[in-house]
Every structure is written in structure tokens, then in C-alpha cells.
């Protein structure tokens, strides 16, 4: 159980692929224009990550060390193809709006990174949990960034959710404020970079604050005899 906790903490916060490892930045920045796009790509990445980590972990004893990378890429590519065909069949609108970034999940370093760093060295269950948590961490960053940009850019949330979830999802669309003038910077790639920078800064400042609090809680060790100044 402690391993599960540790893996979750790593994936969701301490070693978050989006905020700390800064892997898979290309899709992260390119498709987070709306919350729906972010959710779609986040889920696709999560599925691929889960599948590839499990399979890589299963075959890890049989893969020769010298050619492991091409084999991992093959495994990942097959899962991406599956996800791509599924999205093409069931969420065609979203498939079209994500475009090239679905096939490009193959090159997402977050996925091959987990296969190489974790799944190829660990049994199936921890690998699956790791994939789930890393994927969730990535998904969360995508969602926050997508929500931020959609809100600033056009004042809505879940615009176009029906593309992903079917027609009933039209009711999910929230218009937070009405604006005739879209704030284009937030919707263009520069806005994604600025938003990403702000998110990373926020995470770092939270970490610093937590660290400071921990020091205070632990308290400093009182020394009986002080020679010279102690920093």
C-alpha cells in the first residue's frame, strides 16, 4: 500500500510529467486551447500510457537490452493506432480538431520515458499504477491549462464538449462571461507558454511554502552549547 501511495504522489505531484519532468510539451502546449481538447488528448495519452506500460512490463524479461527502445516504440505505436482508430470511430469531431497530435502521441517522451525508466524494471502491477498516476498527472495539467486558456480566451468552459462526449454534453457548456472580443493571446501558442510558466511557478511556490512549514513543525534542534554562529 505504501508503494501505491508513493507512486501516486510521484505521478500526481512530485514528478509530474507536465510540471516537473516537462515531457510531452508539444501536445501540452498545442492542444490546450479548450478544456474539451485537453480532456480528449489527456484521456488518449492516459490510455496509451497504461497499455504500453503494462505490455512493456510483461515482456521485459524477453526483450534484449540492445534493441529495447525500438521495441518499446513499436508497442507504443500500436496502442496509439488503436486509440486513434477508436477516436476516429466514436469521437470524429474531436479527432478532427486534435488532428496530427493524436498520432504524435507516439513521440510523447512522457510515455517512452515511463516505459524505459519504470515499466522495463518493475512487475506489472506497480507499472500499471505508475502509468495510471503519471497519466492522471498529465491529464490534470492539461485540464488546468486548457480551462485557464479557454476561460481567458473566450470566456467559456467545456465549449464543444459534445465532440467528445456525445450530444447530451452540450449542456455542459458554461459561459462564464460574454465577450465579443476573444483574447487571442490566450488561445495562441504564446499564451500556452506563458500559462505553463505560471503553473510551474505556482507549483514551485506551493512546494517552497510546504517545505518551510515542515521545517517550522520539526523545529530546530536546541544546542546546549553554541560556539560560533549557527545559520
Amino acid at each position: 500500500m505504501s508503494q501505491f501511495k508513493e507512486l501516486s504522489l510521484q505521478g500526481l505531484w512530485k514528478n509530474n510529467p507536465g510540471l516537473v519532468q516537462l515531457l510531452g510539451l508539444c501536445p501540452l502546449l498545442a492542444v490546450t486551447g479548450t478544456l474539451t481538447n485537453a480532456l480528449g488528448l489527456g484521456l488518449a495519452t492516459l490510455l496509451v500510457l497504461l497499455g504500453s506500460n503494462i505490455v512493456v512490463s510483461l515482456v521485459r524479461q524477453h526483450v534484449p537490452n540492445e534493441i529495447r527502445i525500438p521495441i518499446f516504440v513499436l508497442i507504443i505505436a500500436s496502442f496509439v493506432t488503436v486509440v486513434q482508430l477508436l477516436m476516429n470511430a466514436f469521437t470524429f469531431g474531436l479527432y478532427q480538431s486534435l488532428g496530427i497530435f493524436i498520432p504524435l502521441i507516439v513521440t510523447n517522451c512522457a510515455i517512452i520515458g515511463r516505459a524505459e525508466a519504470f515499466a522495463s524494471k518493475n512487475p506489472v502491477l506497480p507499472s500499471a499504477i505508475d502509468a495510471l498516476m503519471m497519466g492522471l498527472g498529465f491529464l490534470l495539467v492539461l485540464l488546468v491549462l486548457g480551462g485557464m486558456r479557454e476561460l481567458l480566451g473566450q470566456g467559456t468552459l467545456f465549449d464543444g464538449a459534445e465532440l467528445l462526449l456525445g450530444d447530451w454534453a452540450r449542456v455542459l457548456r458554461i459561459e462564464v462571461f460574454h465577450s465579443d472580443n476573444h483574447f487571442l493571446l490566450a488561445m495562441l501558442p504564446p499564451g500556452a507558454f506563458i500559462g505553463m510558466g505560471l503553473l510551474i511557478a505556482l507549483k514551485n511556490s506551493i512546494d517552497q511554502r510546504l517545505a518551510k512549514r515542515q521545517i517550522i513543525e520539526k523545529g530546530s534542534i536546541a544546542r546546549a552549547r553554541v560556539t560560533g554562529s549557527v545559520q
Binding site: N181, F183, L184, L185, L188, I194
Partner: protein, 355 residues
């Protein structure tokens, strides 16, 4: 008596940042006055909004960064940024435009890089570009000069326009943009660009009322006023003559060549020099001491690069005027320019092989 331990040269200019910035703001006053006379009182409302926003944002973020607020505010650098941005945007743009722009300039471009002295880019121009790509419609709605406006706008109208997007008597900006004869009027640079693209000759295009057969009604006077302010800054040794001179030369030389080569299809160097934002940018914006080149030779290269880029974008690019883009691109090349134009240290031989 002051006893200072400093290495040579011992002749020091004791000017503080605060007094330098004050001079820049003061020298912009004639230009602002002329702009208010020729293009309406909107610019004054924009100035008010920009300065308030700039001070507020600066104070807020200094508190967040746990720095002393008052001394930083009193160095007037935020004031100058606000003034430059307020002058640069259309005078009757809606209020939120200048507020977003100024906040972006101060918070993102200046303070997040570490405050005054650490910003890579000119804050006012970075904010201008941000506004231009974010709100292209609002950022290009310049009214023609007052004498060509169908309805006279009072100072009260200026407030109404900026805060409600309609004048007090209910005219919208696009209605006011129409000339007396109902044709929409763009700025001189924009009209000329569209006419030349449509195959008209220079002489035909200059017949339009917006030009007064030269650099444009009002624009000539605005540019002359900023030229005056700029010369005052040089005389007071607030800025060096190198950057403005190089900017103007970088713009004038290529336009002279093209004008001599094909006089019917490209405007004269004088048109380029006295229209659009030329003088304002050459003397007030390009000379920002933080983001400009710091060596004497580098300043010449830096200015010439800006001038050349402005000529290229005005003639071949997608925008009628280009100082914001040119200044940002030149800001990016400043580290490179500074590296290759390091002055010779006294006592060392001139050329040192870098291998």
C-alpha cells in the same frame, strides 16, 4: 563633500534613474499635447488609465516580491512605460485595452524578469504587440485627424468613448471613422499601403484628404513635436544621439534608394520619417536604456537594425507600421550585438583573436 571610492574615470554623472525617467516623461509632453489637439482628447484619458494601472500593478507585484514599494515607484520607470503605451495605442480604444496592456507590460514583461534593469524586452512594446495580436480590431481603429472628423468630439466625449465605446451623443467608433463623404479613412501609412497594393501610383494615392499631399494631416505635427522632445533629451544628455540617428538613417537610406529607383511606387524618405510613429519610436522607445544595446558601436547597429526592419515591414510586411515588432526583434539581438561590439579596454591592443 562626497567621498566616493570608484575606479577611473572619475567624472561621474550624478543623475538618478528617477530624474532620467522624469526627463523622458517631460519631453514627451509637447508630443502628447499636439496629439491631443490633432487626434482628440482620448489620449489624455488613456494616459490617466495607463498611469493608474501601472502604479497599481507595480505596487502590487513589489509587495508580492517583498521589495520596498515606494522607492521603486518613485523611480518613474513604470510611469514612462505607461506613458509610451498610452501614446502608442489608438486614442479612443476601449478602457480595458489599455488596462490589460499596461498590466501585462508591468507584471509579465518587467517584474517577472526581475524588475527594472533585468527585462529583456521593452515593456511598452511587448505589451503593444500582445495587444495587437490579441485584439487586432480595437488596435487598428485610429480616427483621422480632428479636421477630417465628421463630428467634433469634446473632452467629455473622450471619456464616453473610452468607457462605453460610444460618444455621449451615441456615435460608435466605426461611424466616426467614416469621412464626410462616407468613405472609411485609415491612417496615412495604411491608406498608402492599400492604394499601392491596389495598383495606384504614389501621386494618385497622395490626393486623398488624409495625406494633405504629404505625410498626413496631423501626423507631421505629431512627429515634429516628438522630434523636438527627442532633441531636448539629447541636449540634456538623457539619451545618446546614436540610437535615434541610427534608427532614422536605417529607415531613410533604404527608402531613399527605393524612392530614387521607383519614385512612382514607393513613398519618399520624408514621408517615412514624418509619418506613423517614427520620431516617437526613434527618440523615446528605441532608446530604452535597459533593453537597448549598451556599447557605442552596438547602439549604431541596434538602431540601424530597427530602422531597416521598420522599412521592410512597412513596405513588404502585413502591418502598416512596425516599430513594436522591429524594437522587439532588435531587443532579441542585443546580447549578440553587445558581444561583438565590446569596446577595447584601455591599454590593450585593438584586435584580439578570439581563438
Amino acid at each position: 563633500m562626497s567621498f566616493k571610492i570608484a575606479s577611473s574615470p572619475h567624472h561621474h554623472n550624478q543623475r538618478t534613474t528617477s530624474s532620467l525617467m522624469q526627463w523622458v516623461a517631460l519631453a514627451a509632453l509637447p508630443g502628447i499635447a499636439v496629439q491631443a489637439v490633432f487626434f482628440g482628447y482620448g489620449v489624455l484619458v488613456q494616459l490617466l488609465l495607463a498611469i493608474c494601472t501601472a502604479w497599481l500593478c507595480e505596487a502590487l507585484i513589489l509587495r508580492l516580491r517583498q521589495k520596498a514599494v515606494l522607492p521603486r515607484l518613485l523611480d518613474h520607470s513604470a510611469l514612462v512605460t505607461a506613458v509610451l503605451l498610452a501614446i502608442a495605442i489608438p486614442p479612443y480604444a476601449p478602457w480595458w485595452l489599455i488596462v490589460i496592456g499596461t498590466a501585462f507590460a508591468i507584471v509579465m514583461v518587467k517584474q517577472l524578469y526581475g524588475g527594472l534593469g533585468n527585462n529583456l524586452f521593452n515593456p511598452a512594446m511587448a505589451a503593444y504587440v500582445m495587444l495587437l495580436i490579441s485584439f487586432p480590431v480595437q488596435m487598428t481603429q485610429w480616427l483621422p485627424s480632428v479636421s477630417l472628423q465628421p463630428v467634433a468630439l469634446s473632452p467629455l466625449d473622450a471619456f464616453c468613448m473610452v468607457f462605453t465605446e460610444y460618444s455621449c451623443s451615441g456615435f460608435s467608433l466605426s461611424q466616426l471613422q467614416q469621412g464626410v463623404d462616407g468613405s472609411t479613412q485609415a491612417t496615412p501609412l495604411d491608406s498608402l499601403r492599400q492604394d499601392l497594393a491596389a495598383g495606384m501610383t504614389l501621386a494618385e494615392s497622395l490626393q486623398r484628404p488624409v495625406f494633405y499631399s504629404f505625410a498626413g494631416a496631423g501626423w507631421l505635427w505629431v512627429n515634429l513635436a516628438y522630434l523636438l522632445g527627442g532633441l531636448l533629451l539629447i541636449q540634456q544628455k538623457v539619451i545618446s544621439w546614436r540610437i535615434p540617428a541610427a534608427v532614422l538613417a536605417g529607415l531613410a537610406v533604404p527608402s531613399l534608394l527605393f524612392w530614387l529607383g521607383s519614385a512612382g511606387a514607393s513613398p519618399s524618405p520624408l514621408f517615412h520619417l514624418f509619418s506613423g510613429a517614427t520620431m516617437l519610436a526613434a527618440f523615446f522607445i528605441a532608446t530604452d536604456p535597459v533593453s537597448a544595446s549598451t556599447t557605442d558601436k552596438g547602439r549604431l547597429w541596434y538602431g540601424a537594425l530597427i530602422g531597416l526592419l521598420v522599412y521592410l515591414i512597412r513596405s513588404y510586411g502585413g502591418y502598416p507600421d512596425a516599430f513594436a515588432f522591429a524594437v522587439l526583434l532588435a531587443n532579441m539581438s542585443v546580447p549578440l550585438i553587445d558581444y561583438y561590439t565590446r569596446p577595447r579596454t584601455y591599454g590593450h591592443k585593438a584586435k584580439r583573436n578570439l581563438k
